[in-house]
Symmetry: C3
Subunit: 289 residues, 3 copies
Amino acid sequence: MNSTGNTTTLAGPNERYERGLAVLRQVAGPEQSTVLDGFAEIAPDLTRFVVEFGYGDVYARPGLTLRERQLATVAGLAALGNAAPQLRFHLAGALNVGCSRREIVETLIHVSLYAGFPAALNGLAAAREVFEAYPDTASEEAEVAAEGPDAAETTADRHRRGLTALTEIDGHAGEQVIASLRDIAPDLGRYVIEFAFGDIYSRTGLDLRTRELATVAMCTALGTVAPQLAVHIHGLLNVGGTEEEVVETITQMVGYAGFPAALNGIGVARTVFAERAAGQASTASATES
Amino acid sequence: MNSTGNTTTLAGPNERYERGLAVLRQVAGPEQSTVLDGFAEIAPDLTRFVVEFGYGDVYARPGLTLRERQLATVAGLAALGNAAPQLRFHLAGALNVGCSRREIVETLIHVSLYAGFPAALNGLAAAREVFEAYPDTASEEAEVAAEGPDAAETTADRHRRGLTALTEIDGHAGEQVIASLRDIAPDLGRYVIEFAFGDIYSRTGLDLRTRELATVAMCTALGTVAPQLAVHIHGLLNVGGTEEEVVETITQMVGYAGFPAALNGIGVARTVFAERAAGQASTASATES
Amino acid sequence: MNSTGNTTTLAGPNERYERGLAVLRQVAGPEQSTVLDGFAEIAPDLTRFVVEFGYGDVYARPGLTLRERQLATVAGLAALGNAAPQLRFHLAGALNVGCSRREIVETLIHVSLYAGFPAALNGLAAAREVFEAYPDTASEEAEVAAEGPDAAETTADRHRRGLTALTEIDGHAGEQVIASLRDIAPDLGRYVIEFAFGDIYSRTGLDLRTRELATVAMCTALGTVAPQLAVHIHGLLNVGGTEEEVVETITQMVGYAGFPAALNGIGVARTVFAERAAGQASTASATES
């Protein structure tokens, strides 16, 4: 099975299962124990479907690395906040496929913007448990170090930095959000600039492209925030992501938030891709004339 | 109280309470211990409201059997994923009103399509606990048996079976979903056909009408997937369900996901019913002319 | 930092931190232990952000009392149902800033309308634990007393009382909801009147303005119920709330449900404010002519 949409490939269920099992083993790590243990008796077919479909069809796809798929999954599960065993499994999975502790922690801090502080804090509590149980904790500990506050920094500094980040990432779409708040809730607009973009998006430890991958994953999984999903699909494309990566990130959520969430996410992506194609066409046309 | 909308019935609160208690006892089973135990001291009125309104007004309604109400409730609570004590209670309740273990397991496998694998797996973990604590486990154990993979089956076989199921269930609406994905995420369209309809909807152990009842319940409870709720209201009607059953399934979610979720679900149902009435009118008109 | 939208204030991070810490101490109570304990090692910056942004920027704002912010937060977290540690912290916080047990219990009973009985019951289970651990339980115990059923009350009585409350609170918007259900699900319309407004909204122990504050908080946090959020922003304004209170209640949810939820809530508020401004303009114009 590949990403060409070819439906006549002769890959039988065993091939999908074997491919899925190989990916699952990378995520589950050397101990091979998974969240699937214990389901063999009550629902053996569901276990098989997770391996065949979840890992063999979806995880094994090209277009995103396993590290990116794990960070997107951690972000999506932490944002949903209702799947603690799976979140723990994928936090360990993120370590197993090579994500650093710092990247994981930054991803969870980033979750606070889209699903609130409780989702971020509960995700971090799970991460702390996973990190403690994981070998070689000590050697990497420095990675989790804080950036710390800059005591001399003013709110004006935060505003300036946030506005720069907002413009770089979300461009026109982001500015429109702020402008639309001016008459009714100007402080909320300021918080978007100063806190969301000045404090969080501007942090080091996770590059902007990965932040936007995580954001697209979360907004798809939550299913409640279509306008923001559109803004951040633009954002991912603005900071170097590709349309394939957008589609892959949304598709990765099928197994964690269900088909409707992914289908509706793709619907938003279609609109954004069309907007950008129309914009480039008109730019090209303007340049030619 | 009946479903005629008559508001002048003289049924006082005690009659509603008695009727609710009779239903609650069927769901709670012979041990009579319920999730309501322990709330009498802190919020006695809420306990009363659950009995009067939740069981006396809603559960006691005609239009769905208690078995159907329990499977819809299990699907809705498993999809929401944030009400573990109530999910356990209603898993036992499903057994108490006569659902088989196989039907319950199939309902939870079905949940994976609409709320992801974590929701399905956590629901099954709860089911396993409930089944173990329930008398006569052994005698029914065979019921939970897997259908198992067919080693000779190709992806083309799955595609063919899925397309047949999709067309039977969701008709034109389902085909449109697949067509709309062709330009942007064709593989996601394939997964809908091969996995959702080929692997899951085509399973035995739960008839299509009950699968669609569970789907309408989940989509109503989640509140994030109006387009899919519309498709599956059509689906339920396509596989033999009635408009009354659609309304009852949505109304059943009032107590589990709140009034707004149910009201918005009814709004979607109204649109679907009108579409079908218009379609039949135009068909009739075409036949007459 | 104030609510004027002035972005050039020179308040540095330390000032925001100090202001946030002062508010957090009021919420956390004399023992000073918070849900943030234990995060200092893994994500010290997130802890700082919660204090600076969550408490220093948002909680410290004027426009709502700390008691109102706590009840709105309890309602929002209970409705989401996926943040148990934070819900417990803010239930204790509500007591610490002066909410009575009765107000807290009524708020949680009110949650049942917007997020279902499981959300209300799980919130009450957490409240029971918090109340038991809290000093001076005995002296306030009478406060939690039930209103109890009126055995002579008929459903017609409940209908009459509910209709009066619905008209007072939601006015024209509420009546439209009921009218729209008449053709398709008249009983659901009756339940809105009899149960939601007759049984719950008409309870004493929590004034209507606070009920609508909690409702706006819940509908914002859930993010799935924009039509009902609009109805209840009208409702809050109809029972004496101000536009500032609407904006503050929605802004209070930033830290609990994320920026998109708050931004989308503000979008709904803008529409409602414009509708009311247009309505008053046309009334004024009609009066003048």
